[in-house]
């Protein structure tokens, strides 16, 4: 036990799933961001470069989403069985968005006549997937009603002003990740364009983090208590302060025309938001209905899978790192797909 948290298998699985979701959000976040930026960047050669920058890695990035799903089923089957029906419409839309995004990466290089169509599919699929993930996040924060072992809310409960705001916020956030990723991976006119785009995107992301931080405690008193009661407010104050610092760092890095630091500061903003979210939601796996321990599978299931995860995740990180290393450096329009 540390500070009232039992360090058992259920908690360890909570950490693993949080890590998988985090890895998904930041990694596929920049992939989806590249798709979202098709809104602003229309030039054919630039678009080829953009897609080539993610072509060797997007598939691995998306795999973290599958690990999140499978891990949730294994470790917290009750949560999997409640949360997914609660998010039915946005999840189906997200999955179909990811279908379009994924195949468009391949198909747009296979055709000249239909390339505009698949470009639109790449863009729309990325936007829909990002927006729906943001809606899912907002719905999750607001809490999910259950009765017995099943979801007990309505089919439109996910549609609220708050969830629409978090949906839009994630689209903007992914666009920032995408822009800073492209600053790091490209050069010339495309990089220049992304420097320009990163300014307003960065400002919007910091502002939206502020909006979520104010809105969440307003709709959910327990979140307000967690953050603003004494002495928590002292212990937790580094989180907002670091957000401010990361925002300032992003501003400085863009101004100084650094190539890698803008991406790292954007990652920092996501990381801090994620930590903040964890602080707000703990100990729930289905917010304010089911805790990590109430949803946990039996220890036999948790242990069997934990052994594999503990051994394999470091190995996965190693060879994934190798793939990024092989494709390090700047990409051009002709590299990758033809």
């Amino acid at each position: 036990m540390i500070a009232g948290v039992p360090l058992d298998l259920a908690f360890a699985w909570g950490v693993i799933i949080a890590f998988a979701v985090y890895a998904y959000v930041v990694l596929d976040g920049f992939d989806l961001g590249v798709g979202i930026l098709f809104l602003a960047i229309r030039d054919a050669e630039k678009r080829d470069t953009m897609v080539n920058s993610i072509a060797p890695v997007w598939d691995g990035n998306e795999t973290w989403l599958v690990l999140g799903g499978a891990g949730l089923l294994a470790a917290f089957p009750l949560a999997y069985a409640v949360v997914l029906p609660a998010l039915y419409a946005p999840l189906i839309a997200m999955l179909l968005g990811l279908v379009f995004r994924g195949v468009a990466v391949e198909f747009r290089f296979k055709t000249e006549r239909w390339k505009p169509f698949w470009d639109a599919g790449f863009m729309a699929g990325s936007i829909v997937a990002a927006f729906c993930q943001g809606i899912a996040l907002g719905t999750f924060i607001q809490g999910i009603a259950i009765e017995g072992r099943a979801y007990a809310g309505g089919w439109w409960d996910w549609l609220t002003p708050f969830s629409l705001m978090t949906g839009a916020a994630l689209v903007v956030g992914y666009a920032l990740l995408g822009a800073t990723w492209l600053i790091m991976k490209t050069e010339g006119g495309l990089q220049e364009r992304c420097y320009w785009l990163a300014w307003p995107l960065g400002a919007a992301v910091v502002a939206l983090i502020g909006v979520v931080s104010v809105w969440t405690p307003l709709i959910e008193p327990t979140v307000a208590t967690r953050w603003f009661s004494w002495p928590n407010i002292v212990y937790l104050s580094p989180v907002p302060l670091l957000v401010a610092a990361a925002g300032f760092g992003l501003y400085r890095a863009l101004k100084a025309r650094h190539e890698s630091w803008p991406f790292l500061f954007a990652l920092g903003l996501f990381t801090l938001s994620f930590v903040g979210l964890g602080i707000s939601l703990y100990p729930y796996i289905v917010p304010r209905s089911v805790t990590i321990w109430e949803a946990a599978a039996p220890d036999d299931s948790l242990l069997f899978t934990f052994i594999g995860a503990a051994i394999l995740i470091p190995i996965i990180l190693a060879y994934t790192g190798h793939a990024y290393w092989v494709f390090r450096g700047k990409v051009g329009p002709k590299e990758g797909y033809h």
């Binding site: 029906p85 189906i92 594999g308 793939a323 700047k330």
Partner: protein, 462 residues
């Protein structure tokens, strides 16, 4: 369009639709990944350019098939929860770990090395490149291992207990993973994936041979595919028989539906070649049968006793027509594929393998035979398990999410539209790639390395 249909039925249609689309691509991925390893290995060992030419040719096709497998697979991984939440809650402690191991040991492995395989030839050494190709192939096989273990557990559950909440909980992981039908299903499906790929590769080779007899790459792919067909189809027939015996022991209800047996037969059941099973009349109409052969196949004894569907209550019968006919389609195609393989041996011996127009046409027509057989086989085994989702323990009707019919109808409509568009286009691009001649692809490839080498060496500033 969907009025009057209940939510569970719509959810079943949706699952059947998405998984039917999906399974085609993993099957191709399993087969092609291993084929590419073999080609790259032979190229490294012999230096013969045709191997490399065929490798480059199929790599482009592999990339599209893999992409479509990934995106349709992500849909599957969430589909259990969105539409089958009770099933997920009840079986999660047993099946969730198997699927998690699939992600950890297979999906990441494939994805982690796929980038190098598709785009990295100019950036890594030959050894690393070959290793990456092998890892992608290994990942596809490991993936089949876990997901077929999970599916087989639903067919022949073992090693579990039931807790107070009604969940299946693990008692013995070894018994769960290696449940009674798993070894048979795993071998049968893996070999099926290899054969389906071989018939596709063979058909593409035949197509290009019929246009240019001297095309060395086309000869090579045709020859390799026909060796697979000749040597492995008989193995598959034996594996299919073993799988059938296993089902007869553990899932006799399903086998009775496959065979169209209604009444118990104590001394020798016939083999029904054709017919129309009617659950109302409780008999096989218009049956064309061979006496005693059914018992011979199922019990390896002419007079072996065989149970009929009457041994189970009517509400436990699966949909008979689908099971009966999909099984016959699978077996019929399998036997036809074996004949093609044997014919290729004879033609090869006579020195006419590449010259017989009739045979080239036949293999071209057989292009989708393996994939259709795989789908038919899965329809047999999955529909044959109905009305249960975990055989004998959890009914499909009790497994669905509490989602209203209009919501499922809406998602089903959206999925049908998107899949038809996306996978229709994908099939078109695949066919067009298969239509392009290996010689042209080789020319195109020859222009590449210089450029890749330059960008790799000249612009690696971190």
């Amino acid at each position: 369009m969907f009025e009057g249909l209940d939510a569970v039925f719509l959810a079943r249609i949706q699952f059947a639709f998405t998984i039917t689309f999906h399974i085609v691509f993993p099957a191709l991925t399993i087969g092609l990944a291993s084929y590419l390893v073999v080609l790259e290995g032979f190229w490294l060992a012999t230096g013969r350019q045709a191997y490399r030419q065929v490798f480059d040719y199929w790599l482009r096709i592999f990339a599209i098939a893999f992409g479509m497998g990934v995106v349709s697979g992500v849909v599957m991984s969430y589909h259990f929860g969105t539409n089958w939440s009770v099933f997920s809650d009840m079986t999660g402690p047993v099946l969730g770990p198997l699927m998690s191991y699939e992600v950890l040991t297979a999906f990441f492995l494939e994805a982690g090395f796929l980038g190098v395989m598709l785009f990295g030839r100019g950036r890594v050494g030959k050894g690393v490149y070959f290793f990456s190709t092998a890892m992608v192939a290994a990942g596809s096989l490991v993936s089949a291992f876990w997901i077929l273990s999970a599916n087989s557990w639903m067919q022949t559950p073992a090693g579990y207990a039931v807790n107070a909440a009604g969940q299946f909980v693990p008692e013995d992981w070894w018994a769960i993973v290696f449940n009674p039908s798993f070894p048979y299903r795993f071998l049968h499906m893996t070999v099926a994936a290899y054969l389906a790929t071989a018939f596709l590769v063979g058909a593409v080779g035949a197509y290009h041979l019929s246009r240019r007899r001297q095309d060395e790459a086309a000869r090579l792919m045709f020859s390799m595919a026909m060796w697979m067909a000749a040597l492995v189809t008989p193995v598959q027939v034996v594996l299919g028989d073993l799988h059938g015996l296993n089902s007869f022991e553990y899932q006799p209800r399903k086998v009775a539906a496959m065979e169209g047996h209604f009444e118990a037969l104590q001394n020798g059941a016939p083999l029904h070649l054709f017919g129309w099973p009617s659950s109302e009349e409780r008999r096989l109409k218009y049956a064309v049968s061979i006496p005693k052969l059914g018992s011979l196949i199922l019990t390896h004894d002419l007079d072996g006793p065989v149970r009929g569907l009457e041994a189970w209550p009517r509400e436990d019968w699966p949909p008979l027509v689908i099971v009966f006919w999909s099984f016959r389609i699978m077996v019929g195609l399998g036997l036809l594929m074996m004949l093609v393989g044997l014919a290729s041996l004879w033609l090869r011996w006579r020195g006419r393998l590449y010259r017989s127009d009739g045979f080239l046409k036949l293999t071209l027509v057989m292009a989708p035979s393996g994939l259709v057989a795989i789908l038919a086989g899965w329809f047999t085994t999955e529909v044959g398990r109905q009305p249960y989702v975990v055989d004998g323990l959890l009914r499909t009707a009790d497994s669905a999410s509490p989602i209203d019919a209009p919501a499922v109808a809406g998602s089903l409509t959206a999925i049908v539209i998107v899949y038809t568009l996306v996978f229709g286009a994908g099939a078109f691009y695949l066919l067009r790639l298969m239509g392009s001649s290996p010689a042209d692809v080789a020319l195109e490839q020859a222009e590449r390395p210089t450029r890749v080498a330059r960008t790799a060496a000249g612009r690696t500033k971190p």
